[in-house]
């Protein structure tokens, strides 16, 4: 447009040259120069402004072209130099958020791949902080438990010098890792397989493939994005699968693994993915299995050690050091158990012996024995009142300080031994009588007074357990009574004998024979008296006729009594007294005789 204007201006000036001052000078110069001068005259200021504006635009375009190259440095410089300037953050907030949103929307997998190695630790850390307080409380609760198992673990923790909670975990979490698979997510091909020492060999490729197929099958069955196969369990064998964007980590575990192991697997898979991101761009994913760090990450032994289930941790030597006390305790326990068994056996043997003894006890029917070893013994049974009490047997049994008691109920026994005791009690048999009971027949033998024999004949058939009485008892003769009767007879005979006198104390001829006869009777009477157990009193008594005075006759009677006493004394019979001389036993005779009388029992 400007060019056409200028041409129009030129045409106008060429048509009317008189209108231009200094026309000769203008004619001498070239038309183009004239044109330029004219432009300068007319639009000098505007042209300079236009040129400046063009230069500015060009500069801006250059800056625009260089912007992608300069932007990172510019942004870094801006952030560095204007750290405290909120405008920088404000200015960046919106585009960054927008860019992130667009990236999440359009390129979600890249964002996932980039964030995967770090998002897990972030979440775990947040959860760990939240759970720390809970775990502390749980630990306190566990420590305050005083169950036998808790006490046992407490002792173990004290011996091993480790926290109680660690021992609890170790016992609760007995498990092992058999196989670890790192499997390419899409193809199911094995990137790395590690088997624990001693684990059964298996076709790792087939296992990994099937595991992937099962995961796909389960994921597709439950429906799209709702999840994938995280774990599978058969008995105490468990498969845990951790899913990552590039690879999955499958862990074959036996026993009851702790939740920490799951967290450890997540962490390991994140670390593996960090290594995958560090692979050269042209390196196939399968080379990750050759990475030394990945090999370390997937080592089952190291996993166990890190999860706290490996027996080769630092606590193990301490446990081995404490093995002797365990042995000692076990030995003591064994000894205690042995002592207990032996003592129990001895107690049972003694109770059995007592049972046999009581069973053989007449008049006692053993029912039951309540036995509480070393503490008490109660014997139940039926007891005849006439039977010997088994209490003594129970007391005598070698049962230590155990309390013993007899719980007996009365009954009547037909045992011959008890029937005999009952007969003895009821008949009160005197000495010389023999009693025997056999088969319900009571045998009575020996000698007994007639009265007892008569009473026994009435009572014996009524005794419980006695069906029949056979008595051969003889009437018993009392030698004392016999002797006494003989004594009385001898005294009567002695009373009939006398010694006659001629006068005074002059005996008649042949008086010696009479004295000898009296002496013989006295000796016989004395023998009977000893036999009868009685005292015999002998008194000599004189008799006189009525002639003469009374005093004289009394003197004569005294003389004659003394003469006889002396005559008997001369024959060895002493202690013969003299009757009162004033009495005259037989006034018809001039004689002397012995009066014998029976005294009290000796």
């Amino acid at each position: 447009m400007a060019g056409e204007g200028e041409k129009a201006i030129a045409a106008a000036t060429g048509a009317d040259g008189s209108a231009v001052p200094a026309a000769a000078d203008v004619a001498a110069a070239s038309p183009r120069d004239d044109y330029e001068r004219l432009r300068e005259l007319l639009f000098g200021d505007e042209r300079r402004e236009l040129a400046a504006a063009r230069e500015r635009i060009a500069e801006l375009e250059r800056a625009q072209r260089d912007l992608p190259r300069r932007l990172p440095d510019a942004a870094v410089a801006a952030l560095h130099e204007n750290r405290d300037n909120p405008r920088v953050a404000d200015a960046l907030a919106a585009p960054v958020a927008q860019a992130l949103g667009a990236a999440v929307h359009d390129n979600r997998q890249s964002i996932i791949d980039a964030l995967f190695p770090i998002i897990g630790p972030m979440i775990r850390r947040a959860i760990a902080e939240a759970l720390r307080g809970l775990v502390d409380n749980l630990n306190g609760a566990i420590e305050s438990s005083f169950t036998p198992r808790g006490l046992k673990w407490r002792v173990e923790a004290w011996r091993a010098g480790v926290p109680y909670a660690q021992v609890v975990l170790r016992h609760r979490l007995a498990y092992g890792i058999d196989h670890v698979f790192l499997v390419e997510r899409d193809s199911g091909l094995v990137l790395r397989h590690v088997a624990a020492p001693g684990a059964a060999p298996l076709d790792a490729d087939a296992i990994a493939g099937m595991l992937t197929a099962l995961g796909d099958f389960v994921g597709d069955s439950v429906g799209g994005d709702r999840g994938a196969l995280d774990s599978a369990q058969v008995g105490d064998s468990l498969v845990w699968v951790e899913h990552g964007p590039q690879a999955n980590l499958a862990c074959f575990v036996h026993g009851v693994p702790p939740p920490q192991l799951r967290g450890l697997l997540e962490q390991r898979l994140e670390d593996v993915h960090a290594r995958i991101l560090a692979l050269p761009a042209d390196a196939p994913l399968q080379t990750i299995g050759d990475d030394e760090r990945v090999r370390e990450l997937l080592d089952p032994v190291q996993m166990l050690r890190e999860a706290g289930a490996d027996g080769s941790t630092a606590a193990a030597p301490a446990q081995r050091k404490s093995f002797k006390p365990v042995l000692a305790v076990a030995l003591l326990a064994l000894i205690a158990l042995g002592w207990f068994v032996v003592e129990r056996w001895r107690w049972n043997a003694r109770v059995a012996a007592l049972r046999d003894t009581l069973a053989a006890q007449p008049g006692f029917v053993l029912g039951d024995i309540e036995s509480r070893p070393w503490r008490s013994l109660v014997v139940h049974g039926l007891l005849d009142p006439d039977a010997p009490s088994p209490q003594a047997l129970i007391e005598q049994a070698d049962l230590g300080k155990a309390n013993r008691r007899l719980g007996a109920t009365g009954f009547v026994s037909a045992d011959d031994r008890v029937v005999l005791r009952r007969a003895q009690r009821l008949l009160q048999a005197p000495a010389g009588v023999t009693l025997d009971a056999r088969g319900g027949v009571l045998h009575i033998g020996g000698e007994a007074p007639q009265a007892w024999i008569d009473a026994a004949a009435l009572r014996a058939p009524l005794i419980a357990g006695v069906a029949r009485v056979e008595s051969t008892v003889q009437v018993q003769i009392d030698p004392k009574r016999v002797a006494r009767a003989a004594l009385e007879h001898a005294i009567a005979e002695l009373a009939a004998r006398n010694v006659d006198f001629v006068r005074e104390d002059e005996p008649v001829a042949g008086s010696d024979a009479a004295v000898e006869a009296i002496a013989a009777d006295v000796r016989r009477a004395q023998a009977f008296a000893r036999e009868a157990g009685v005292a015999l009193q002998l008194r000599a008594a004189g008799s006189s006729d009525e002639s003469g005075g009374g005093d004289i006759n009394a003197r004569v009677r005294a003389l004659r009594a003394r003469w006889l006493a002396l005559a008997l004394a001369a024959r060895g019979i002493a202690d013969v007294g003299e009757d009162d001389a004033n009495a005259n036993p037989d006034p018809t005779q001039r004689s002397a005789r012995i009066h014998a009388s029976i005294g009290g029992a000796r």
């Binding site: 193809s187 199911g188 490729d205 087939a206 493939g209 099937m210 796909d216 099958f217 994921g219 597709d220």
Partner: protein, 166 residues
């Protein structure tokens, strides 16, 4: 040290003999019941090569079907080769195998494909005409196989190995 492993998926209609071919080729770790439950059975086989490292193949024997569903498509992910199996005595099975190949190509455009025309031992009952096979061989490696006699089986897998690890 072996090359691979390479994932090989076996596709084909019902009853064409895929499982029998695998059984002829490998000693299975898993029971065939997985085919009817999960729909796939995975085995591995290390194929020896003269003077070179053996190649490990992981064979996904996918249950017989004439079209790929979502589960079957999932099973194909990451496969390096497809072994299509058809029954020579049933021409329809060949059409199914080719249909499956077309569907699989959408998921695995670069996967090696080999066609095993199975039941070669029943050649007298074949419905597939030789000219058809000749036509197919222009675009696809085709092997006549017999799971019953073992004929051609090793050759088919050897062709896969050669294609994957030349």
């Amino acid at each position: 040290m072996s090359a691979g492993p390479f994932k090989v998926c076996m596709l084909g209609d019902f009853g064409v003999g895929k499982t029998s071919l695998v059984s002829r080729f490998v000693r299975s770790t898993f029971s065939d019941k997985y085919l009817t439950t999960v729909g796939v059975k995975v085995d591995s086989k290390e194929v020896a090569r003269a003077g070179r490292d053996p190649v490990k193949l992981v064979l996904w024997d996918i249950a017989g079907r004439n079209a790929l569903d979502s589960v079957g498509a999932n099973y194909l992910r990451g496969a390096s080769a497809l072994l299509l199996v058809a029954d020579g005595t049933r021409e329809a099975s060949l059409a199914s195998a080719l249909d499956l190949l077309m569907q699989a190509r959408g998921l695995l455009p670069n996967a090696l494909a080999v066609l095993a025309m199975n039941k070669f031992d029943l050649l007298d009952r074949w419905e597939v005409a030789p000219p058809t096979l000749t036509q197919l061989r222009r675009t696809l490696a085709v092997f006549e196989t017999s799971a019953a006699t073992g004929a051609g089986v090793e050759d088919a897998f050897a062709a896969i190995v050669a294609g994957l690890a030349p």
